[in-house]
């Protein structure tokens, strides 16, 4: 018997542009992606939610600052508060930070330049629903492509995040954007909301380059399936 394909909602904002890659990747990894328009006040029945990359609402004012007020984001906040799995990729990470579902904020790259390259990363934790297919210290290569990916938290917050082991991914080697403590991805305290600047959905098919992104997304699919089965069982 084939394992059930968990439904994963992908929120589509005006200006999102990676939702189809995310849908393709999730589908290839055993999920059933469902695109959800930002104006929807309620989420369909899904086992996890992905906020894709792009430039939601034009990224005017600050990246993610306006998108966080979309009706679908109120539903995502309620879903997250209920313990639902939420993954924010690049612009999705920015939206989650502005929505205060994740700590910190993403600022313009220190270089002031858009960066687009494969980024070596180090996995700091495997005990999250998003990294359980990796081992601690594992080196992944996943592409980044952003102009505003410099993670910032003030001294106090940064200390808190390190103490609570909320930094899940760090740039290993060159830091492409000047983020504090080489942060590439952080999880919330409860461990059910994860944001990262690199794009796992662009690194799934080995034909196109590095495929380490599949480790992150397949872990999400596994976790979503576990929740689905737990709910049914």
């Amino acid at each position: 018997m084939n394992p059930p394909r968990p439904r994963v909602g992908i929120i589509v904002f005006p200006g999102s542009n990676d939702e189809r890659d995310a849908a393709w990747a999730l589908s290839a990894l055993g999920a059933e992606p469902v695109l959800v328009w930002h104006a929807e006040p309620e989420l369909p029945d899904v086992a996890a939610v992905v906020l894709p990359g792009g430039f939601a609402y034009g990224d005017y004012l600050r990246c993610g600052a306006i998108a966080r007020f979309a009706p679908a984001m109120q539903a995502v906040a309620a879903f997250a508060a209920d313990g639902g799995l939420v993954l924010g990729i690049c612009n999705g990470f920015q939206v989650l930070c502005e929505a205060r579902l994740l700590p910190g904020v993403l600022r313009p790259n220190a270089s002031l330049r858009f960066t687009c390259k494969d980024a070596p990363l180090r996995v700091e934790r495997r005990d999250t629903p998003f990294t359980m297919r990796c081992h601690p210290g594992q080196r992944l290569v996943i592409p980044v492509k952003h102009g505003e990916g410099s993670f910032f938290a003030d001294d106090e917050l940064m200390e808190e995040l390190e103490a609570a082991h909320q930094v899940v991914l760090r740039y290993d080697g060159e830091n492409p954007n000047g983020s504090r403590n080489d942060v590439a991805g952080v999880v919330n305290r409860d461990g059910n909301v994860f944001g990262l600047m690199p794009h796992p959905e662009h690194a799934v098919d080995p034909l196109l380059g590095p495929s380490d992104g599949a480790l992150i997304l397949a872990a999400l699919v596994d976790s979503a399936r576990d929740r689905l089965l737990a709910a049914v069982g």
Binding site: F69, S111, F152, A153, D154, L157
Partner: protein, 80 residues
């Protein structure tokens, strides 16, 4: 009622845009030791009461116009 909201990067926060402007000003020969770049939002409000307007503007800043983690704001109400 008109108001001006000035949003600035908090002191101590790296401001790459300000650094680029600083570098350009120095290249032009100006003796400048620092430049920081913020943002101005001019707002036209329906409110007629200054206190009410200020309360609303503060909420606008907290919710949307500034990110308190990295930015401070300053509200100036124009007297009519």
């Amino acid at each position: 009622m008109r108001a001006t909201v000035l949003v600035r990067p908090k002191s101590g926060i790296l401001d790459p845009q300000g650094e680029a402007v600083h570098g350009a000003l120095r290249q032009l020969g100006f003796a400048v030791s620092e430049a920081r770049v913020g943002r101005v939002v001019d707002v036209e409000l329906d409110a007629t009461d200054a206190g009410e307007a200020r309360t609303a503007l503060e909420r606008m800043c907290e919710q949307l116009l500034a990110n308190p983690l990295i930015e401070s704001y300053e509200i100036t109400l124009e007297s009519t």
